[in-house]
Amino acid sequence: MKKLRRTMLFMPGNNPGMLQSASILGADSVILDLEDAVSLTEKDSARILVREAIKVIDYSQVELVVRVNPLDTEYGLKDIDVISRVKPDSLMIPKATEEQLQNIDEMLTKVEAEEGFNNGSIKLIPIVESAYGLENVYSVINSSKRVVAVLLGAEDLTSDFGIKRTKEGEEIFYARNRVSTACRAARVDAIDTPFTDTNDYEGLAKDTLKAKSLGFTGKASINPRQIDTIHSVLAPTEHEIKHALRILQARDEANEKGLGVFSLDGKMVDAPIINRAITTVELAKILDLI
């Protein structure tokens, strides 16, 4: 069955209590963070703690992602070398460039051979959080076959642009479109930037809906309390499911009559509409909604 990546929950890498509870909070993916959530003086400590945690804690029910430090810092390469040896599902790479992803890919191939892991088993999730990354997102994705998703990091991106980040998010409208289009074209998941006001659930729902309507498949979260809201927005509505089921039923009837195109409720139904209905029904089945 297809694994969902609707919510990716950030957890600070130097906090044992949070590392222990990360997998039971309901998120589809957990991101153990060695970057922004860890102070410069604790980078060594967090790296070792996360490595030891992955060795003993059962993360099998979630996608286990570790966000390493950027490769242009003194910590990035060491993070990748130490963490890849305990085989997380994916590594999240901040401010990734094509060249860096190619280098990481080679590094991982070497580690996988040394450790006896299947080649290509450790995946990559680059973060688009700079003007360069945004402009080159499609080629960044295609620089390694390991890339399975892209996270849009709007805080750093707007900082790189020197513009203000707002709750409404008009300033990232283009970035969202650009990232989601590239992700769809490359057939990888598009993960939206976190909503940073953890007490505003209405705002979170609106922001998630906006991302969903632009083609994002998931959203990062920075607090477990955000998970239910994001999941409820990303799930198909009852109306959408019913409509999708009716389309598929009408398709079956049309097929029996040998019709390629047919109409339902006075509207033409053709392949794209049928495909969307199939996607909706598949998702609803995965979520136990039908």
Partner: protein
């Protein structure tokens, strides 16, 4: 392996352990442990700390640890960090 200076790792938050290590001028390994679960797990925590010292082959070390309910993996990680920082 020899440590040369005083170093600390960990915190006093719940589920964590704060470990301080320093060279032991008297020679050998000395361990002082405080734990909120001393009665139940004191022996096990000491063993985990001492096993790590042995694994890293460190002699002449004094260890002071304040445990706030850390699991074994945390104790091992903090111990390794403290020793690496003390070298």
């Amino acid at each position: 392996m020899k440590i040369n200076k005083i170093a600390k790792a960990g915190t006093l938050e719940s589920n964590d352990i704060l470990i301080m290590v320093m060279p032991n001028e008297n020679g050998g390994v000395e361990l002082e442990l405080e734990s909120i679960v001393m009665k139940q797990f004191g022996k096990q925590i000491k063993k985990t700390i001492l096993d790590k010292v042995q694994e890293l082959d460190v002699d002449n070390i004094t260890i002071k640890a304040q445990d706030k309910g850390a699991l074994d993996y945390t104790i091992k990680a903090r111990m390794q960090t403290a020793i690496e920082r003390a070298m």
